[in-house]
Each structure stands twice: as C-alpha cells, then as structure tokens.
C-alpha cells in the first residue's frame, strides 16, 4: 500500500511536484510508475462491488499483523502459563481485551472476505487464462489463512481450542500414507500437549506470516502485471460502451472509504462482542458440550457427524476426509477442467457447480449453528 501513495498524488491531480516527489523523481525516475498509474483502471459494471473484497482482506491482514505484534508483547506460549497470560491481557493490560478482541474478530472477517473474494473471482470466471497463477496464489493465501486461524485458535489454551485441535489434528492423522507423520509433526508427539502449543505458536507467529507474505507479494504482482480481470460480457462490449473507473484516485478512494467502514464494523464487533476466553484446557476433563471449531470449518464438522462409523469396510471418517479432499482439489484446479465456450455462450457448469457448493456450505454451516 505504501507504494501506491506517491503514484497517486502527483500525476492525476497535475499539481506542481512537491519537493519530496522531485527529490525522488530525480533519483529514481518515477515517470514509468506515473504512466502505469494513469493507465490503470477498473471496469465499471453491476458487479464492481466484488472488486473491493481483495482489498478488504489485505486491510484485515495488516490489522492482524499489528494486533498480533501487540499481543506478542504479553502472550507466553507455554502450556503452564499460556491461558494465564491471555487472561492477564484481557483483565490487566490497558486495552488488552480490545486488542485481543480485534485480533480475533479481524481474523474471522479476514477469512470471510477472502472467501467472498474467492467466490466472486470464481463466478466472474477471473481464474481463466492468463490468470491461473493469481487464482492458485489466492487459494494458497486462503489455505494459509485457515492454518493461521487453526493454529491461533489453540494459543489461549482453553477447553474449546484444546478439543478442536485434537479433532483437527486427528483428521490430518487419518490421511492415508502421510497422516501419521503429519500428526506427529503438528502435535510434536502423539497427543496434544504443551509441545503442540509451542509448535502452533511458532507456526502462527513465524512460519505462516513468512509464507503468507511471499504468496501475497506474488498475488499482487500478478494483478499489477496483468491488470484487473474484465469479465467476458464486459470485454465483448464495444469500446465506447466500456465504462471504467480510474484506479487512481477514484477506485483507491472508494476502497479507502470501504476500509473505513470495515474498521468501524470491526470496532463495533470487538467492543460489543468481546472474544470469550472460556475455561483452561485440561487433558483429563471430558470434551465440553457444544464443542465446535471456527465457523469456516463448521460445515465439514457437521458433515462428519452424519457419516456413519463404517461404510463397507472403511472407516467413515476416512471417507469424509477423502470426499472433502477431492472436492477441495477439484475446486482448486478449476482452471484445468473449466471449458471456455464460444463468445455469447455462458459456461453454466461452472456457475451451477459454484452455486451448489456455496449452498452446501451455507446449509451445513447453518445446521451446525442451530444444532450447536
């Protein structure tokens, strides 16, 4: 984002150069950037609203980094005192409850915006050639975000998180061939213990942020290099009918306005619905009633409840894992099985498959909420 600011000020408004801009220009010759910024535009049509969600996710990621660093000042990632340190943040540290609540809410809103962003890209068929790699890096960002969520969920070391982690890692352990190794790798042993907490803490604050930034950089670079995707309907219009919004400053200002709204929503949620801490995890206590994972895993969690213990000779859970694994893989490689039809024909298979998946996810998420 910082990169964009110098671009936006000078060229569009045509004001005389500020001394800083002149200083930079003399040394780095910004004319290429300026030209680039001038040409950049966003198609204006019925669905333009969806173009903002990637930016929203980016904003929330920045919020995560900032609040995450703040939490690190007081959080202690060991079994004995993790829970107490989070309680300390909530109860004693000035605005500690707020920072933690913002971190938790922002994490959830970030996943939500990525999911909305992904579905909009899917339905607008923006994953098609030449943007396959943008799609794949985007999927990687979603998966890393979910891994962020899963690992962060355990860090307060409370009951819900403890059992959610047991179940989540056990599911990974069921994966044929590599499952057992992955399970030990994640848990740092056979069971969910303090070793698991240490590992998740390391993943959450060091490994995942590093990988995330790499994919995020690629994702943004691809978009800058290729320009924003234009949907087929729009691209086929005559040049005169194509309405666009200049990226600088019009689109950016709108995005900033939306960011302001998102920050307000975030503040309201964080203040009025502070994130609960619950009870400390106890490996010798039974799983509490109403245990559930984060909402974005809920539909899978609910489906797992319905799969019987044995289907023929195979464990039901393995069938469930294979089902979701296969469905997820097909979703990811959509650029491969998508067929582009002649202009004027819409590929309804893509649209209906997407709607079907969306309906499936929404229905089972709602059932899980009601049942839970």
């Amino acid at each position: 984002m910082q990169k964009e600011q110098p671009k936006k000020q000078e060229p569009v408004t045509g004001k005389p150069k500020s001394s800083l801009m002149q200083w930079l220009d003399e040394r780095y010759n910004l004319s290429a950037l300026r030209e680039f910024a001038k040409k950049k535009s966003v198609p204006k049509f019925r669905e333009t609203i969806w173009y903002y969600f990637g930016g929203i996710a980016l904003l929330l990621f920045v919020v995560q980094v900032i609040t995450g660093i703040l939490l690190l000042m007081y959080y202690k990632g060991t079994e004995d005192i993790a829970y107490e340190s989070v309680r300390f943040i909530d109860a004693k540290v000035n605005f500690g409850w707020l920072i933690r609540s913002v971190h938790s809410w922002s994490a959830n809103l970030m996943i939500l915006s990525i999911v909305i962003h992904m579905f909009s890209v899917y339905f607008l068929k923006a994953f098609r050639k030449p943007r396959e790699l943008t799609w794949y890096t985007g999927i990687a960002l979603l998966l890393i975000s979910m891994a962020f969520g899963f690992s962060g969920y355990l860090l307060p070391w409370n009951e819900l998180a403890y059992f959610a982690t047991k179940v989540g890692t056990d599911i990974v352990g069921q994966v044929p061939f590599v499952g057992k190794f992955m399970l030990t790798l994640m848990r740092g042993g056979e069971d969910v213990t303090g070793a698991t907490l240490s590992r998740f803490f390391g993943f959450h604050v060091a490994l995942f942020p590093g990988i995330f930034v790499i994919f995020l950089t690629l994702h943004l670079l691809f978009i800058q290099r290729q320009g924003i995707s234009e949907p087929d309907d729009w691209a086929q219009k005559e040049e005169k009918e194509k309405k666009t919004i200049p990226f600088f400053p019009n689109f950016v200002l709108r995005e900033l306005l939306i960011w302001l709204i998102v920050i307000n929503i975030l503040a309201i949620l964080a203040v009025y619905f502070p994130w609960e801490l619950g009870n400390k995890a106890d490996s010798f206590a039974p799983a509490p009633q109403g245990i559930k994972p984060e909402w974005y895993f809920l539909f899978m969690f609910q489906v797992l409840k319905y799969i019987p213990g044995k289907i023929w000779m195979i464990n039901g859970e393995i069938i469930g894992i294979l089902f979701f694994g296969l469905a997820g893989l097909l979703w990811i490689i959509v650029p491969f099985w998508d067929v582009k039809l002649k202009p004027g024909y819409r590929n309804r298979v893509i649209t209906y498959t997407g709607l079907g998946i969306l309906a499936f996810i929404i229905v089972f998420t709602i059932i899980a909420f009601i049942a839970g």
């Binding site: 059992f163 047991k166 179940v167 056990d170 599911i171 190794f181 030990t184 790798l185 740092g188 042993g189 069971d191 070793a195 490996s283 010798f284 206590a285 039974p286 799983a287 509490p288 009633q289 109403g290 245990i291 969690f301 797992l304 409840k305 799969i307 019987p308 213990g309 044995k310 464990n315 039901g316 859970e317």
Partner: protein, 150 residues
C-alpha cells in the same frame, strides 16, 4: 567414462546431470536433518500398570470419573448394579475425551455425538470402533484400575 561421453551424452548434458544430481544431494543433505529434527524424540513415559483410585464407598453408584492413567485419561464407571467398568477415555472417532452421561446411561462424546454403551461398544454416532477396555479390581475397599491383557 570417455566412451560414454562420446557416444551418449554431450558435455553439456553431462554437466547438467552433475549439477542436478549435486543440487539434489545437497537439498537432501539439508532436508533430512530438518525433517528428522521435526520428529520429536520419544520421551520415556513412566510405565503405569495400575492406578489406585480410592475407596469403593467413596465412589457414587451410577457415576463416572476420569482418572489419570500415566499420560492417558481413563474413564471409570460405577454402574447402577455396583459393578465397575473402565475404558480409555479417548473417542475412537476423532480422539475427543468421552464422558459418562447419567441421563443417557451411556458413554458420550460431545464432539460429534458419539455414544457407547457401558461395555464400551458403539451405540450410535460416528465412532468406528469400541472403546479400549481397562480392568478394575477391588482389593478390600480399594478400587484399582489396571491395563487389561487384551
């Protein structure tokens, strides 16, 4: 060696093979210790063969409690007829800790609604296998849980 180069491979191909092979070996030499490092050492667990859980008269009829059996949670139940049963308290479905539910008269897993009867057999829900059994013996007044042979 020379013959091979003359007949089969050009100098460039040979060098490519050497480089690819070298880089692969180098990567392997780095990855192997890293992956081994991530596999935690087997900590020596204190072998527990039996646990004394107190007096039989202190154990309410038709109730259950989870005890620490070494590193593992074990659910001990005193049935309504006064008999004892003990199981590894880990659900065979996805590893959650199960509990005795008085109202159901069953062993229950809150994670995915798995239910077992008081013999540890699956009554309903997703668990694919019965709970692992532990044995209970009464010595005088003391209730002792120990690991069964099977």
């Amino acid at each position: 060696m020379n013959d091979e180069i003359k007949t089969g491979k050009s100098r460039r191909e040979f060098l490519n093979d050497v480089i690819v092979g070298g880089v692969s070996a180098w990567l392997l030499a780095i990855l192997y210790p890293v992956i081994s490092y991530l596999d935690p050492p087997k900590s020596k667990q204190v072998k527990v063969s039996q646990v004394n859980i107190g007096k039989s008269s202190d154990f309410e009829i038709n109730s259950g409690k989870i005890i620490r059996f070494g590193e593992k949670p074990v659910l001990v139940i005193k049935k309504s007829n006064g008999e004892y049963a003990a199981f590894l308290a880990e659900c065979t479905h996805l590893n959650c800790t199960v509990q005795f539910r008085k109202d159901l008269g069953q062993i229950y897993c809150a994670c995915h609604n798995g239910k077992y009867d008081l013999n540890g057999k699956v009554a309903s829900g997703p668990p694919p296998a019965p709970l692992t059994k532990y044995d209970v013996a009464i010595k005088g007044e003391e209730v002792i849980v120990f690991k069964g042979e099977g």
